[in-house]
């Protein structure tokens, strides 16, 4: 059994780390914080991933793409395990992932709320900038977007609509 040591990546982990999110292909599963663990033993690999949202249909594709990439690399038996706890948090998106989001016109999440759950009847106010023109004069158009993980915004200066990856 080979587990990646600190500062050293196993071959299987390197390959798994190249797999991207099917909806946001500028992010690898590492950038997204979905890839939790990769262990290999000869030509057997076990990959552990954490679902982002309970109903996210992209999870099935992520799992298939992991199997595909590792199969192409010569591994024979690939198991993809689900880790439910701790639940995925947008805080797990890496710094590189946040830069990638911004470079592709998406706004990265701020810190996720901690502590007791609050009811917020006023629109959530996030200190975010337009990923295109940098203006902080932006308005929320919907807390729900084209995928489970995004809210919709519009910039009041350049008028471009953009997507914000939600805090969760």
């Amino acid at each position: 059994m080979v587990t990646a040591l600190a500062g050293e990546q196993s071959r299987a982990r390197k390959i798994a780390s190249t797999v991207v999110d099917p909806e946001m292909p500028m992010l690898t599963l590492v950038d997204l914080g979905v890839l939790r663990d990769v262990t290999e033993d000869g030509d057997h690999v076990t990959v552990t991933i954490t679902p982002t949202y309970s109903g996210c249909p992209a999870m099935a594709t992520m799992r298939d793409d992991l199997v595909h990439a590792l199969t192409d690399a010569g591994y024979v038996e690939i198991k993809v395990r689900i880790s439910l706890s701790p639940a995925w948090s947008s805080d797990w998106i890496t710094e590189r992932g946040r830069r990638q989001l911004r470079d592709h016109g998406l706004s990265a999440p701020g810190p996720a709320a901690t502590g007791p759950v609050q009811l917020s009847l006023a629109p959530i106010r996030r200190a975010i900038d337009c990923p295109r023109c940098g203006s902080d004069d932006v308005r929320l158009t919907s807390e729900f977007g084209p995928t489970a993980c995004k809210a919709l915004y519009q910039c009041s200066d350049c008028l471009e609509p953009f997507e914000h990856v939600k805090e969760i």
């Binding site: 099917p22 949202y53 309970s54 996210c56 099935a60 595909h68 199969t71 689900i82 439910l84 009811l119």
Partner: protein, 306 residues
């Protein structure tokens, strides 16, 4: 095209090449609890755990289906998308809960023809008859207009959020993990419904009139959410479930806050019914039609692969 993505650019590749790893979204039946330790904890009865997870899973499944009926019918595109997303979150929670029920007590899963590729959670969703569903009647009711939908979603989300927060420390680690994840999602649902409630309450005369009427419609059925069954009481005793009656004060404080913000009086409508409900398999007339629509394709093709 230099940047042609061979893994995703043609949905037919997987079909033509026979490469199972290239199928499009939703075409595989991997276990949503793959690799998760589903051992029943000491002091917990597996059949009771399954019965309890069916209740919570069926609430989410049936309500997800009902809410999804708004898709392409909502007042504007943003709310169309919002309600579809909320339904999707609930469907995801249902899938996990039904899978948990099946793992805890495989005898709850309907038998299918030999060789059927249908996984246990889908067998539970699509191949049970009406009397085997354990959801509250509250979630099967027809949507009504947008105001009725918002009121029903607000009361449901407030209740479910309180429930999931308590279940996050369930004695069953699988249920606890499912609940902890659900808390993050339902927080957005409750906020969405709460904001629309206040917007409708303080909007036009017509929006307020409809909201007040919607509140009266939903209020009489709301008590069902906190009316405990024997399964829930025993689940609470075994430390993995919650007696929903113990959530009432907490949920009520949230509802009171929303009512006050909207300047809406608490309705003086008495709760309807006290006897056996959906939790015991006794459903209202609309449930049959809902199930017919939800199940018809899967039942017509029990060996189908999607």
């Amino acid at each position: 095209m230099d940047d042609l993505d061979l893994d995703h650019d043609s949905v037919y590749d997987g079909l033509l090449g026979g490469d199972a790893s290239q199928w499009a979204f939703g075409t595989d039946f991997e276990d949503p609890l793959a690799g998760v330790d589903t051992t029943i904890p000491a002091g917990v009865d597996g059949d009771l755990l399954a019965a309890y997870c069916l209740m919570l899973g069926d609430d989410a499944l049936i309500y997800a289906h009902r809410l999804s009926e708004w898709t392409s019918n909502a007042p504007d595109l943003e709310d169309d998308i919002a309600l579809a997303n909320i339904a999707l979150d609930l469907l995801g929670q249902a899938r996990l809960l039904l899978a948990r029920a099946a793992a805890a007590d495989p005898s709850v899963v309907p038998e299918l023809p030999e060789g059927s590729p249908v996984p246990p959670e889908d067998a539970l969703a699509f191949f049970r008859d009406e009397h085997a569903f354990r959801n509250v009647g509250y979630v099967e009711a027809i949507n009504g207009d947008f105001a009725v939908t918002i009121v029903r979603l607000l009361l449901f989300s407030a209740h479910r959020l309180a429930l999931l927060q308590r279940l996050a420390v369930s004695a069953d680690p699988v249920l606890s993990a499912i609940a902890a994840k659900g808390v993050k999602e339902v927080t957005y649902h409750r906020d969405y419904a709460g904001r629309w409630f206040v917007t409708l309450a303080r909007g036009t005369e017509e929006s307020r009139r409809r909201l007040v009427a919607g509140l009266r419609t939903v209020w009489s059925t709301y008590a069902e959410l906190s009316r405990p069954t024997e399964v829930e009481m025993r689940a609470a005793e075994q430390g993995f479930g919650v007696d929903p009656a113990t959530l009432t004060d907490e949920v009520d404080a949230v509802i009171e806050h929303v009512l006050a913000t909207g300047g809406i009086e608490r309705p003086d409508v008495p709760p309807s019914g006290t006897g056996p409900t959906g939790r015991n398999g006794r459903h209202t007339e609309v449930m049959g039609l809902l199930l017919a629509e939800m199940q018809v394709v899967a039942r017509a093709h029990p060996r189908g692969t999607w």
